[in-house]
């Protein structure tokens, strides 16, 4: 028996600036979430920094690449960028975040009498983009009635400029505190940077899934900053159907990709996301492939659902990944019925908590429909606004 293996986070320069290592810090109250569609999703932890270090971190760490390591230095258990920093010194709590930052802003609107949307040219804060990469946001100008101040376009540009003037840099809020001094970071996975990209295509043509997917990749304005958008080596061919390539409603690239995620031949489920930094090439790549329906994990109700491999060997909980199937081996032992095996769960979501060493896996009852019908796509796998609740299992 031993202590819980130490969890460490490694901070590197912001991807738009470079790759140099900054610091290594032991992580406390470490938690992460990974998704079958997307990959590494969210991570949070607390760090033991003194006041001076915490203020330096508050100033410099937002937007940095972060990787979490436990026992294998070749394989981080999670990777992404720092999206939010909290610092509570006992008297005040200050937070600084990328969440509401947009350093490229567009406005989309519809004029009265028109059935087409119009997008005003983007405003850019290039100094912010040089540090954090391009994070684009689209404001909905709704339907304009008449000319205000010259033209609809001028009005929309004024709204655009007002917004970017307010949100082009990481936003800060300060509140009174009174709790224990705490320094905490939150991070989001690299696939979320596809939510920073707007994708627009006025063409109207039927194209294959892969053509549309390649078009979206080629249009990534952050180029190779967060992942190598020119490397299609992990994009597999899905010839299941064609679709219309028009995208004119201000969607993000990730939303457009969800449209093409779809399914494969014979009802196969497909997944996509950003792989962690490749130890050989040093790059991150977008992947698109059929989902993995192999039973790679098993568990037993009798011992509290400790995660095990398919032969019963214990699995270190921090290494668990989604996009695999978990089977409970002492549930419905003799089952041989029709339909999906109720002992097996396709893992859509993995949540891991280091302090308790608990890992939660969640499937979704209607998962084979999600890609095709776009159910739930704008929400995390937890907290659906409609549809059946996810299945959760704690171990």
């Amino acid at each position: 028996m031993s202590a819980i293996p130490e969890h460490w986070i490694h901070l590197y320069q912001r991807p738009a600036q470079g790759t140099a290592f900054i610091t290594r810090q032991q992580a406390f109250k470490y938690q992460h979430q990974k998704l079958a569609v997307g990959g590494d999703d969210t991570m949070s932890c607390e760090l033991a920094l003194d006041g001076t270090e915490a203020q330096l971190a508050l100033e410099n760490w937002v937007g940095c690449r972060v990787a979490a390591y436990v026992d294998n230095p070749m394989a981080p258990i999670w990777e992404g960028i720092v999206s939010r920093v909290y610092y509570d010194d006992g008297a005040l709590m200050v937070t600084r975040s990328l969440d509401e930052m947009f350093n490229r802003v567009e406005v989309i609107y519809t004029s009265i009498g028109s059935n087409r949307t119009t997008t005003v040219s983007a405003a850019n804060e290039t100094d912010s983009q040089a540090l954090y990469g391009i994070k684009a946001g689209t404001c909905d100008g709704f339907i304009r009635n008449g000319i205000v101040g010259g033209s609809n376009g001028q009005h929309m540009e004024a709204i655009r400029d007002l917004i970017i003037g307010q949100v082009a840099w990481p936003l800060t809020s300060v509140t009174q505190s009174g709790g224990m001094p705490t320094f905490r970071i939150e991070a989001t996975g690299f696939f979320h940077t596809l939510e920073w990209e707007n994708y627009y295509n006025a063409a109207v043509a039927g194209v294959s899934i892969n053509t549309q997917l390649n078009n979206i990749m080629a249009a990534v304005v952050n180029d190779t900053t967060f992942f190598d958008n020119t490397d299609n080596s992990l994009i597999e061919t899905n010839a299941a159907y064609n679709l219309v390539n028009t995208e004119t409603f201000g969607k993000t690239s990730w939303q457009c990709l969800q449209t093409v995620q779809g399914g494969g031949a014979n009802g196969a489920y497909w997944v996509m996301g950003i792989k962690r930094t490749d130890p050989i090439t040093g790059t991150r790549r977008f992947y698109y492939r059929a989902g993995n329906t192999d039973v790679e994990y098993t568990s037993r109700s009798a011992d509290g659902l400790r995660p095990r491999n398919q032969w019963g060997g214990l699995v270190r909980p921090w290494t668990m990944e989604p996009d695999r199937v978990m089977r409970v081996n002492d549930l419905l032992v003799g089952w041989s019925g029709r339909g999906l095996d109720p002992r097996e769960t396709y893992i859509e979501t993995i949540r891991y908590d280091a302090d308790t060493q608990k890992v939660t896996w969640a499937g979704a009852d209607d998962l084979h429909m999600q890609g095709a019908l776009q159910l739930h796509r704008y929400y995390k796998m937890q907290g659906y606004s409609s549809g059946p609740p996810p299945r959760n299992a704690w171990t």
Binding site: A3, D231, I280, W311
Partner: protein, 595 residues
């Protein structure tokens, strides 16, 4: 308990005698055995020991009988000490209390304020012990059950300490070489002096490397000796052993480990991996019925078709490594990856009868690395993966695949034995790692059968429509399940380290002036250990398990500016490893020390 013969609170790191340029200040000491100040009351100190933090972390469920302990982190230790103050001078009494409160504040501020980097610790030497022991203090409370204006009667002062769970035999921030000196009953000024405290190398005056807890040269490869007749001899090895008697104590010992390129490589290293292994280093295998040493590198030449393995072809080549099958010749393995997109090809395969000697030593979790290259085409053309199969025959049992990785592309070796190294993922052996005892009824074994049971295979996948030429040197398996770390400069602005620099991994607290934790750095060139450059260290801190032989396996990656890929591993390289151990105890230390 018997009263200690030394007991004091100390702040600071002691200057080295004779160092006229020291940045250290004289120690701030408060004696707790003073006849004219604070003195430990008779039986005033009941020693305490660490316990399970939050009663441990348990696997539990309302539906299971009982519960199982999963993790057992330790608490800090809370100890109470009762002292008397007997000085007849009130101002002197107040001065001593003021001293006590200042130390209290400094203990609390240690590294919680960046400006306070002087450790505050308790030093004691028991009457029946053989050496001093030092415990880092995080805080202590002071209580007094007496009239603070009365100096005619003794004051009763109670100190309640919260200290680190261990007591070390070298003070916090102290030079980690001291333990080895003290262990030999060496005395300052007689057996060792100021220049002998260097942490990295021979001081040039004949004070040699045997004065480290462990010292050895490790090769960046492993080769058997004997050409198939021995399982014990080796021509080259990639490990250092730290003998059990160098690691006393009852908790994991701290270690200061320095790594220096010594010879064989024209290039500095950019990265190395180090892994601890404390299981037995020799086994009498049921398969071979003879002793075999534990090792972690499999030569590619031993895994080819000629010897019953995969489809690769072993080629005698002076840039290869000696195989167990043929220790007279050096081999690399060549393979022409066929045009068969989507089909994985078995290139290398090892199993107990095919040089995967003594499977009992392979129990555990391993990270796999392959030294190999693709010599035509382009990067990303070929992928590789490791396949682990366990059963009574191939195709009958469990099979596990690591995730495919990109096989490195490089047109030509610019130096002999210089191959890219690729990571192949990790695996556990046996596949059900809770299965320990075999059917013979004689205890632990993975298999009692000679010629099968476990197969390790390297498979490749050519994704292009033309053949690709591949070359392989060896498969390296680093144990993950004890402590596995990686020292890397790949993400530093520096990009690599100098060929004549020292690289340290330190858990003793020396580099951080007494702060517990792990520190890694590079020391600048020409064997002058005077320029520290912090560097990235990933993975677990390397501490040593007490009372057993500790083996540290190494694998090095080098920097060659001319190479199109940056993960070159030069198998001929040699590196010097020096280890200084600082044992830690929960109880009383039992090592010699001449203080």
């Amino acid at each position: 308990m018997q009263e200690p013969i030394e007991l004091e609170i100390i702040k600071g790191v002691e200057p080295v005698p004779g160092d006229t340029e020291t940045a250290e200040k004289p120690l701030d000491r408060l004696n707790l055995l003073s006849s004219s100040g604070l003195a430990l009351d008779t039986d005033g100190w009941q020693m305490a020991y660490p316990s399970l933090k939050n009663q441990g972390l348990w696997i539990d469920s309302p539906t299971m009988n009982g519960r199982e302990l999963s993790r057992s982190p330790q608490t800090n230790v809370i100890e109470t000490m009762t002292l008397t103050m007997t000085n007849n001078d009130l101002s002197q009494r107040q001065g001593i209390m003021k001293h006590l409160f200042r130390l209290q504040q400094d203990a609390r501020d240690f590294w919680s304020m960046e400006s306070q980097y002087q450790p505050v610790y308790l030093n004691f030497k028991p009457a029946v012990g053989v050496c001093n022991q030092y415990a880092l203090l995080y805080t202590f409370d002071v209580a007094m059950d007496s009239d603070p204006y009365d100096c005619t009667n003794s004051w009763l002062v109670t100190l309640t300490f919260e200290r680190a769970p261990w007591r070390a035999v070298v003070p916090p921030g102290g030079n980690p070489r001291l333990f080895k000196f003290w262990k030999q009953n060496w005395a300052w000024g007689i057996n060792y002096t100021i220049d002998d405290l260097r942490l990295h190398q021979d001081d040039g005056t004949g004070f040699d490397d045997t004065t480290y807890s462990a010292y050895d040269t490790v090769d960046n490869r492993f080769e058997w000796e004997g050409g198939g007749t021995s399982h014990e001899g080796y021509l080259s090895k990639n490990w250092i052993d730290i003998p059990a008697d160098e690691i006393p104590g009852d908790m994991e010992a701290d270690a200061y480990i320095s790594v220096t390129p010594s010879s064989g490589s024209a290039y500095p290293f950019v990265k190395f991996w180090v892994a601890r292994y404390t299981r037995p280093t020799t086994f009498r295998g049921r398969q071979s019925d003879e002793d075999s040493l534990a090792y972690n590198i499999l030569a590619a030449g031993d895994g080819v078709a000629a010897f019953g393995g995969g489809a690769g072809t072993a080629v005698v080549d002076a840039c290869g490594v000696y195989c167990r099958t043929d220790a007279a010749n050096q081999y690399i393995v060549q393979y022409t990856a066929p045009v068969a997109a989507g089909v994985w090809q078995n290139v290398l395969q090892w199993y107990p009868a095919n040089q995967l000697q003594n499977i009992a030593s392979w129990r555990g979790t391993w990270a796999a690395f392959l030294r190999c290259q693709q010599t035509n085409g382009a990067q990303d053309d070929v992928q590789a993966r490791l396949v682990i199969e366990q059963g009574y025959a191939l195709g009958y049992g469990g099979r596990y695949y690591t995730d495919p990785q990109v096989l490195p592309y490089w047109v030509a070796l610019s130096s002999c034995r210089e191959f890219p190294v690729m990571y192949l993922g990790q695996f556990t052996l046996p596949l059900d790692n809770e299965y320990l005892s075999g059917g013979y009824g004689r205890g632990a074994e993975i298999s009692g059968v000679a010629n099968d049971a476990v197969w390790l295979s390297v498979e490749t996948l050519n994704t292009k429509t033309a053949t690709r030429t591949l070359e392989f040197l060896d498969l390296i398996l680093m144990p993950v399940d004890e402590a596995f770390g990686c020292f890397t400069a790949e993400n530093s602005i520096l990009g690599h380290v100098s060929s004549n620099s020292f690289n340290i991994m330190d858990t003793t607290g020396y580099a951080m002036h007494g702060k517990p934790g792990m520190y890694a750095s590079v020391n600048g060139g020409n064997e002058t250990p005077d320029r520290f450059m912090p560097i990235e260290y990933r993975g677990a801190a390397i501490r040593l398990k007490p009372g057993v032989n500790n083996r540290l396996y190494f694998l090095f990656q080098h920097y060659n500016a001319a190479a199109p890929v940056d993960n070159i591993s030069y198998a001929s390289a040699e590196h010097t490893i020096r280890v200084s151990v600082v044992p830690r105890f929960q109880g009383i230390a039992d090592v010699e020390q001449d203080s």
